[in-house]
Subunit: 343 residues, 4 copies
């Protein structure tokens, strides 16, 4: 009865795919970053729909001046448990929702885009009624998107920050020289063993989810989100042989700014800047026990696709996304130049 | 109580690390490709050592004209079970040993290099007595190196070849246009879902073990061998957006030569050329239930290293190999140019 | 009065951009590879147009069974000089036209696509009358696309083949292991100096024109065709530090199959397979004195574009092509996923 | 009789290799950044040697508190012309020397390393007497290393800064989001024509000299320094199809921060941070008329090497450097793992 591929260390790795969410949510948290007219209108419509269709369900919103009418103020996971998170906006909105639950478990997340769909945005806002219905009818399936937990240490290996000050990221932790003109030097350890000294602009430790974000731009591979793995991608390394590395999710990666590093490293967590790490300081990164359970687009598929080889419900959102991404495929000729205007 | 990342399909994924091999081997198979003087002498010394130190143990060798004195002829896994495989030579020798057990389970493999050590070559031949002793004292730990099973289909989806004709590879399956001057077109399916159409020189589906072989040369990431994953790396794709992809080991990847492909694709399995796939023909690739259990170098470590953070027995051969590989690291300046002869 | 950046060796480098073609062509060579219905019809229309609009102009065609009505048989540059080459088809058709003039100077080339435009295909077939008119009115401007001249040597450095057997390529010379399963070893010399030993699938020496062809797929940079340069791009090299290199057009690159190379190398010239080079054999590659004068798309631009910063006539076809190629730009999200069908 | 590949615009491109420096230098400028004990001692020895061997030659030093004994204060190129620059230190020291002559022509530069040799460091300090002698005997040959001139504009296209405020760089101009968490959007124009909109961490416009610096880390090609070219390399672009581009040195590249860019861009010139460019602001980059004439290592070669195919004096420092860099070549196995300590 082994759970992961590793050692004796208790593993935080959780199953990536669950079958469905059984409970019917009693409390919903709406998360939005933008407050544009379309977003405001969409939230109003959503609230009205919930109140009329699912009476008794409470809808919450972060405590902000612009809290929508019909929503209650939410003051954190400790005070008011949430059964379902609904996000409206871009990928950054989900990243923000994840950050609201950085101390522990995350409720299932239903993500709506306001326009273009995306890797983290399975549903279009226009479909919210259908999506909600599939949740309440127990038909929603989830993808547990792995997160990373980070702990920071000073040069004496004393933890920086308070105890429950752990960070959880859904995309990546990125260390970067920022506006310092000089390269930094970072020692990389895997399970305590020295891997290499990196001289570069910085390093990214990414989840499979984050593999299509910053890590991809820096040259990393595209990793299926149901794989439990850590991706280490260097940013502009001086070494020509430093290639992206993929580790089991049971690995602990330690990044330590070299004592003679010419630059400190700014830390970005899912695109939010936090600490500066100075020479001698370090960060420990490992899989978090608290993934983000994301509701799949296939939850609202009308009927099972009979794609050869893929059983009912096997339709994979991600493969469809990558398919779109790789459309740019075939000879670029046939794609890029097709649109050439004739003279 | 299954915990892996897949569906209802029975999963062939096996734990990557086992603690040790308990049984004391009664039959040993020696595998070597080269028959140079040092190899001949090493085999003679090995045979003498086994016969004198472990009386009753039988030593076998492939049926070749040059079968070493003191070894018995081995005519296949069905006729004579083997408890331990000993390879002498380069990485290619282990790949060959793997191919000798392509129908089923592989016995533990103890691999000796004749010179430089390597990713697949944990031991130096000079250490054979010590390594053997650690096996017989039950101290050997293994890394189960995942293999891929391949099945070939004609355009009507009828299996090509006999039923037990399955191929098992340890590094990779590579499809390549070979000496045809034209690009080929290959449709890629993941679990039956169309991923993309690749126009390229070819495609590699690699194990984590193979990620440091051909896939790395083609631009793929370096994947830790204890991760259960498949790596798909395009070879010189026309599309600029086709990046290497990493899938869970539970995925089934289908590569189908496009009907209008301008070239067929030659199939290479661990570097051995086999079939030619013509337009319409396809290959199914998935994790094999039969990994190669490789005995770790750390098996003969004198005493536990007290590397900070890594418990006893946690010393990871692979990290050490990669560390060497990435030594080329830091600024290339300090490495490459150090050796500049002064004028 | 030095013309290039090099040594005393007489340089074949020619200016990349000429202003216009003055002479009014008296003999036109039609080049086509395909003989599909649209191509046949287009050729017929072209021939009719030439005969009626430019009486006295002779139109030639390669000596093939399917020579179009109204065209004369052409038996080579030595027997019948050509003032203008007209190609109909894809990029391969221009490469073929180039190969018809491998012994010496190439007449100006007017290239028509049958569908999608392309890097080597400035004009759409529907515009042939306008394009031809601009030539006869002396308004056509040309881009001299550099070619490479190749000479092959046996291990004793004796030239292989007859004296006027030189090859001229417009895209690239590629050496590749072909269907051999093993890597080959190639020694690279630049102006006689040893650069490195490459262990790889092969090597590409490309012109700037060819930088968007095979070299790009293998990871090479995109080079503006008016730069006089040679691009050396490795194909799947074992070395992680082997990056594409760009040399002045005055360089002579020598590729020599290593004496202990495990594979020979097949030679491809603009996609046509020619020799096999065995261990010890080599090829010398340098800029040819005979570029391909390609007529620019801007030749038929109605009036000078008033793009800010670009003077009249400065409109650059290539920048427009690259612009199209890089459209895939911005976040792939906004491009790739826009088309996501809603569920 | 024009020499470059371009249009009617007067070209600043200069020949990259000159034969020798005729004049015997009367004034020498010493440039050093570090003031470590070995550097101090080396400067003292150098000064003593010059004063005793070349009486009447004046030696200058930048006006700093630590001006060495025997050197005169130098207050700029306008006040005191310099015949020879001597640098002691790393590559950064030469970049600094270049910056001291950013308004106009640069005197020949003799560069000494204090330890490891390098791309910009042909001579070891121990050889200074020999190197100096070759200069005074008229035997020094130079490589004119191209520089880039940059001009900055506000959104109304009014030049930012004073008129003689032009910047000259030897390696590169880099635009980077710095410590802003968000990607920036930069519009790229070539000769006034829009090439693409880049969404990325930033962009590098590099000289061939700089192609082995930051641009290489970001994935750019290695360009021979005697080629007159500009290299445009994106830093972590979102677009997967954005590859490094190489332009003729006659091109003018304009980088303009997009009006809706989420981040400004910090400008780094040869590693020194200067301006911040805000949305709407832009920089024009083109080849400078003032290259850096660097004295070649081959200047002090005892006698012509008779390398096959390379005439006397043809020995190319750069090829030797790259050869060292690419030593990491062949299979990394044979290099990296050779040193494996046996267990
Ligand atoms: N050069 C680069 O590619 C950089 C990328 N980023 C990424 O931006 C993320 C933060 O996103 P925002 O707050 O929206 O900032 P943002 O508004 O700057 O957007 C970054 C872009 O990344 C996309 N993105 C985010 N997560 C993604 C994912 N998992 N897969 C595919 N695309 C994804 C977004 O849709 C957006 O196009 C960071 O976690 C980091 O991954 C941050 C800095 C530089
Ligand atoms: N361009 C390339 O990089 C190519 C690589 N290959 C690789 O060669 C393998 C066959 O090996 P051999 O029979 O020894 O042929 P070979 O004698 O041609 O050796 C190929 C090289 O790959 C190394 N290698 C093999 N497996 C490795 C691994 N798992 N990790 C790191 N290095 C590894 C070998 O030590 C040797 O240096 C194939 O499985 C394929 O991966 C095959 C063709 C081309
Ligand atoms: N993996 C790859 O990318 C390979 C590319 N090739 C290229 O194919 C060329 C021969 O072309 P065809 O006879 O048409 O064979 P083909 O019909 O196999 O076409 C190769 C593709 O390359 C395109 N192409 C050709 N020259 C180009 C250029 N200068 N810039 C951009 N795209 C270009 C063609 O339009 C076509 O899409 C060779 O010179 C070589 O460059 C050949 C083999 C493999
Ligand atoms: N991620 C990266 O690779 C980064 C590189 N740089 C480079 O650093 C340069 C400034 O150099 P320093 O003042 O010495 O700063 P530095 O002390 O931070 O050194 C940068 C490294 O680049 C090397 N270098 C500089 N110019 C080179 C050249 N032309 N070819 C090969 N190597 C070269 C230096 O020897 C040193 O190893 C910048 O012009 C930029 O090219 C700057 C920031 C990031």
């Amino acid at each position: 009865d082994r759970r992961d591929f590793s050692s004796s260390r208790p593993s935080p790795v959780v199953p990536a795919t669950g079958r469905s969410i059984n409970s019917s949510p009693k409390s919903i948290l709406i998360v939005n970053k933008l407050r544009t007219q379309p977003v405001i209108m969409a939230i109003d419509a959503f609230l009205e729909h919930v109140h009329s269709t699912y009476p008794g369900v409470r809808v919450f919103h972060e405590d902000r001046p612009d809290i929508p009418h019909g929503a209650e103020v939410w003051t954190g996971a400790h005070s008011q448990p949430i059964d379902l998170v609904v996000t409206l906006g871009g990928d950054g909105t989900i990243l923000h929702a994840s950050s609201l639950f950085s101390a522990g478990a995350v409720p299932p997340v239903l993500s709506f885009s306001m326009g273009t769909l995306g890797f983290l945005l399975p549903f279009h806002m226009d479909d919210f009624a259908k999506a909600l219905e599939s949740v309440y009818r127990g038909k929603a399936t989830i993808l547990n998107r792995m997160r990373l937990a980070c702990t920071f240490y000073n040069p004496e290996l004393v933890k920086i920050g308070k105890d429950n000050d752990d960070w959880q990221v859904m995309n990546e932790v990125a260390l970067h020289r920022g506006s310092s003109p000089h390269l930094n030097t970072i020692d990389i350890f895997v399970d305590g063993q020295h891997l290499t000294e990196a001289v570069s602009d910085g390093l990214i430790v990414s989840t499979p989810t984050g593999s299509t974000a910053y890590s991809l731009s820096a040259g990393g591979p595209i990793v299926h989100p149901s794989l439990s793995a850590l991706v280490l991608t260097p940013i502009c390394p001086r070494s020509l042989s430093f290639r992206p590395l993929v580790f089991p999710a049971s690995s602990v990666i330690t990044l330590r700014i070299g004592d003679r590093s010419r630059s400190p490293a700014g830390v970005s967590m899912d695109g939010r800047t936090s600490h500066i790490l100075n020479p001698g300081e370090s960060v420990n990164i490992q899989a978090s026990p608290y993934p983000v359970p994301c509701i799949n687009r296939s939850s609202i598929a009308e009927e099972p696709q009979n794609v050869e080889g893929a059983g009912p419900g096997k339709e994979d959102d991600w493969v469809r996304d990558i398919n779109n991404l790789l459309q740019y495929n075939a000879t670029f000729r046939s794609k890029a130049l097709l649109r050439h205007s004739r003279t």
